[in-house]
Subunit: 552 residues, 2 copies
Amino acid sequence: MNKQKLKVIPLGGLGEIGKNMMLLEYANDIIIIDAGLMFPEEEMLGVDLVIPDISYLLEKPEKVRGIIVTHGHEDHIGALPYILPQLNVPVYATRLTNGLISVKLREKRFKEKAKLKTVRPGSKIILGNFKIEFFSVCHSIPDSVGLIISTPVGTAVHSGDFKLDYTPVDGKVIDLSRLAELGSAGVLLLLADSTYIELPGYTPSEKVVGETLEQIMAQAPGRVIVTTFSTLISRVQQVIDAAVKHQRRVFILGRSLRDTVRIASELDYLKAPPEVLGRLDELPRLPHHRIVLLTTGSQGEPTSALVRIANRDHRQVHIIPGDTVIMSATPVPGNEALVNRTIDNLFRQGARVIYEKLAQVHVHGHGSQEELKLLLTLAKPKFFVPIHGEYRHLSLHAELAKTLGLAEKNVFILEDGDILELGTEAARKIGKIPVSNVYVDGLVIGDLDSIILRDRKTLSRDGIVVVIFTIDKKGGKLMGRPDIVSRGFINTKEGELLLEKGRDLIVAALDHRGKHSIEWGSINTKVKDILTKFFYNETRRRPMILPITVRV
Amino acid sequence: MNKQKLKVIPLGGLGEIGKNMMLLEYANDIIIIDAGLMFPEEEMLGVDLVIPDISYLLEKPEKVRGIIVTHGHEDHIGALPYILPQLNVPVYATRLTNGLISVKLREKRFKEKAKLKTVRPGSKIILGNFKIEFFSVCHSIPDSVGLIISTPVGTAVHSGDFKLDYTPVDGKVIDLSRLAELGSAGVLLLLADSTYIELPGYTPSEKVVGETLEQIMAQAPGRVIVTTFSTLISRVQQVIDAAVKHQRRVFILGRSLRDTVRIASELDYLKAPPEVLGRLDELPRLPHHRIVLLTTGSQGEPTSALVRIANRDHRQVHIIPGDTVIMSATPVPGNEALVNRTIDNLFRQGARVIYEKLAQVHVHGHGSQEELKLLLTLAKPKFFVPIHGEYRHLSLHAELAKTLGLAEKNVFILEDGDILELGTEAARKIGKIPVSNVYVDGLVIGDLDSIILRDRKTLSRDGIVVVIFTIDKKGGKLMGRPDIVSRGFINTKEGELLLEKGRDLIVAALDHRGKHSIEWGSINTKVKDILTKFFYNETRRRPMILPITVRV
């Protein structure tokens, strides 16, 4: 028997653990599962994106056999354009997923250099000690897969993002028999999606949404405007199908949706009868009840088509009486306020707006409690690691597994960088690799240290006061009064007086030391102290104080 | 017949319209309903609070007869300490509400000067042309009232924040018969709470929560830690009752909860048998299953007791195995991330956490659709104005009223400052008074203009670059190279190089103009342009560029 062990390490742990990247390591082989981006938390001011920290991989690039991508969502593919230039290993994904990856790579001019390999559900690949089999799962994007990974210590099953849907739009049902077969043969480790562990019962089928859409299109007196996630291709298909059924034509608004529709149509994941999709200039010639507008903006993105329509500043489309707007999406956490504002403004413009709270115009892409129980029961794993969820989700999923009979010692909650080591009989956490948040802020990747973020926070709250001392280079003496300028702090006439008083205080403090040459390092600290205290007493604000010394 | 009309004007329209303040005006009399504060929206950086704009009232203070407060929540009383010093009119409220108002006023040292008048549900007061009768309503704080306002043109009913609860904790059920009686006699105008118009059915009774709390306390193997809104006195009562029933003692953590418990006990709105409430130093002597900790922190407030416990930095209390934490509250919009993080950290510490998604440990304080239908049906108003909701809620509530038979022309959605004029037979919007957001930022009220907020936004995203030119006062010439300093922009070695290059660019641009006296105004613009462009090209960031000229 070999003595090597299997290591499992989640990376990219901002928010949902293991979602953006997972590593499996055995002997001289490492495989990476997914390479997604994360959206910054509120306090990460000015940060565009966060990507997984791959420094562990960059230390031993020769071991990395490839990246396996489970599906084409941003949080699973979005970091590839940043990671591949540093670690150009082969990427294995299904056809649609590769199509979407190609778009991302082309934007960053790395498409030609990347090694994209297309796999099919049911197919297998061998990467060193790992044999990987792909199986179809249902999720809110077509061509999603889960993974069956044979390793020298046993079989690991990775669910990907999944739900059970016996009536999905594309007809591809999850292969439950294959999972049952594996369960009987013996599964060492199950890694399973925990996103909707809080919800009891089953997630409804996409079919329910299709029926709601049809009903609305049948009854709406005028135009129907639908917004959804631009990667939710099955929803786009449902909108087209419902439109066809009710003799409406479909017009696409917004670049990302047009891109998706084009790629999905080219790759045959989207079927629209000829003449259904129209060009915007045909709009004025059609009666309102023959029109469906399919638009970006489901997250209230400020520059999206729907938000511009809601604000009445879209060039071609305004809300007119009789319009029905369907928000066929759920706000991603953090976007609630933007989405609500968009809905409010659409109502203000006179539209009737139908959103998730009012009708079943959206269903989630993840399994609820009963589906998670079914997966655990079919796979019958020896070890269980809940993934794809924040800590509370993983805790609840771990509890669920225990109530289904898994031994407490065989259930592990991993956090970013945790190393779980598995043998055939036992598993344990053996430590943690150092990981940090890698920020993308403009063109710069990774350099944002905590000082910059702390400074931005101070600046955002109470602004800045700049104090400039001019010093005689020869004598080392202060020349004239210091200058004082503020931004984002205070603006009124009293504010001007306040700054002037602050200037007086500094002059007084400096004069006190006489006209001799001065220790300028300690002056900076002193000036900061004096002004911080003074401004806080007068205004209860704490602007950043930035003393600058100019030597002339 | 008189020809005077009744005017209705909502003020304080950030988010929920008419919630924070409503005006009723007739001839020479104005009454104010509620004076609450609003929490700033995300883009209002550094703002502590927003209060209603009372400039309309300050123009005719002699007309204002008083402020009537419906209940003791921050969004109905919180602006009083800021408004009364400018407009010291009598304040009419029930006993508990006045107790809570007193606390606020004492903090701002205005208690002695204020004219607080205590009213009882069922009592009436006369303010000029208005006769106001108070009636009990159920809400998430005791002693809440709605208003029946007799005016020369007819009767107006104001629901306050309300729900129907046939089994409330304090036993005070809404007076449906009085409403029915009014409806039969004829109601001119109904102003009704729209907060939960999106929810079908009825809001469950507080009783349901009581039962859940009891069940958890009976079964929990160790300590039970409960957090709730500090003003949710009925919930505090339920926690105490459940604790008593299961032989547990209750320990209060957090100043705002201790204040509430003290005031509510003094005023007899909270009943705790002697020996139930304990002091923290008694904690170590009690077995775990005899302990309930009632704590602040239901909104994930960073300095609250619960958050410090979750982060393991509370001085006296740590999570220990067997602890059960109950989040008996719902996150206020905007606080979701903080609350989720707190729950995650409590799980991390080993607690079992029970929150709204997992069990009925909280119910809302507002009526759902069926309750709103009942109110409309009983009151049978001629005119209807939905209040207390964002625009979408008001729209949905207006639609609901129409489906119940109200004429479309008699239903009005008002926004901040809109003036609705009502006669006995007709009503119409006649215009809008100018209103703006009045910000409280530290000690300063109202001065935050859009420039300050815009500056803070720029600063928060990409920081600041300060450029200092020293100019010879006599010759008007540049002395030496300009200095350049940044904060929150870039921090690495390459960053230093970048700033240095920026400096070079400026020197080149200035040299180009020769050594002659220079037009410094235009230089500022030029420097901003050059650096903005250069930094954007190099980094895709747009820091604020602040050129400062020092004359020596």
